[in-house]
Symmetry: C2
Amino acid sequence: MEINLIRKSGKFNFEAENSGGKTVELDANPKIGGEGKGFRPMEMLLVGLGGCSGIDVVNVLTKQKEPLDDIKIKINATRKDEEMPPIFDVIDIHFNLYGDLNVQKVERALALTFEKYCSVSNILGRSATIKFSYTIHN
Amino acid sequence: MEINLIRKSGKFNFEAENSGGKTVELDANPKIGGEGKGFRPMEMLLVGLGGCSGIDVVNVLTKQKEPLDDIKIKINATRKDEEMPPIFDVIDIHFNLYGDLNVQKVERALALTFEKYCSVSNILGRSATIKFSYTIHN
């Protein structure tokens, strides 16, 4: 897995590119001069967590032949601002699941995702409390 | 810090949005049906590491009044493929620094970044070996 970053403008605005040519812009905290030109680096970790767990939930529900029509994910995180560096404290991740879904299968899919499959959750969960919840919309 | 994700197309292609309205697309590993429509979630962690450490290096060198003309960052990572989940094993991050820079000040900036300032490095370094290196181009 390879990522390349170049500075795009100003002091803190970077562009990151993966090996498939996809790009995303980053920028610093406004406190040190960031100008809102991209994602903050710590936001990228939450994006990774949402993508990783979302993909795993979709994958497990699909294998269970559950009729998942759509999925939306909301993540809120707090940081340990009194520590240096200010790493994440609590990460809340909520899954909105659309379809005529079986509650037990949804709970099984979420348990498998967070206890077994999701690499990003495993990594971030070593230093933060990750809380997950769900709502089924049918 | 809040991130929202929606499913954009197919089963595994998500779009993530931060509170400033910036978006980035994600996609799954081709092994489970990903189609290369976005960054892989684990790539997002490397993007965050590059951005976080790059911003901190720029910030420290700027405070030191070092003449940093440009910066490029390359990251390569291996995963513990024999484990479940396959988290990162070794992450190599190389800084290409452009300008008439003082070696001692560059080394001090990198040490401060990885030992003190960079939240993402602190988080990922709990489960992976992070190796950093640099080349000064002047």
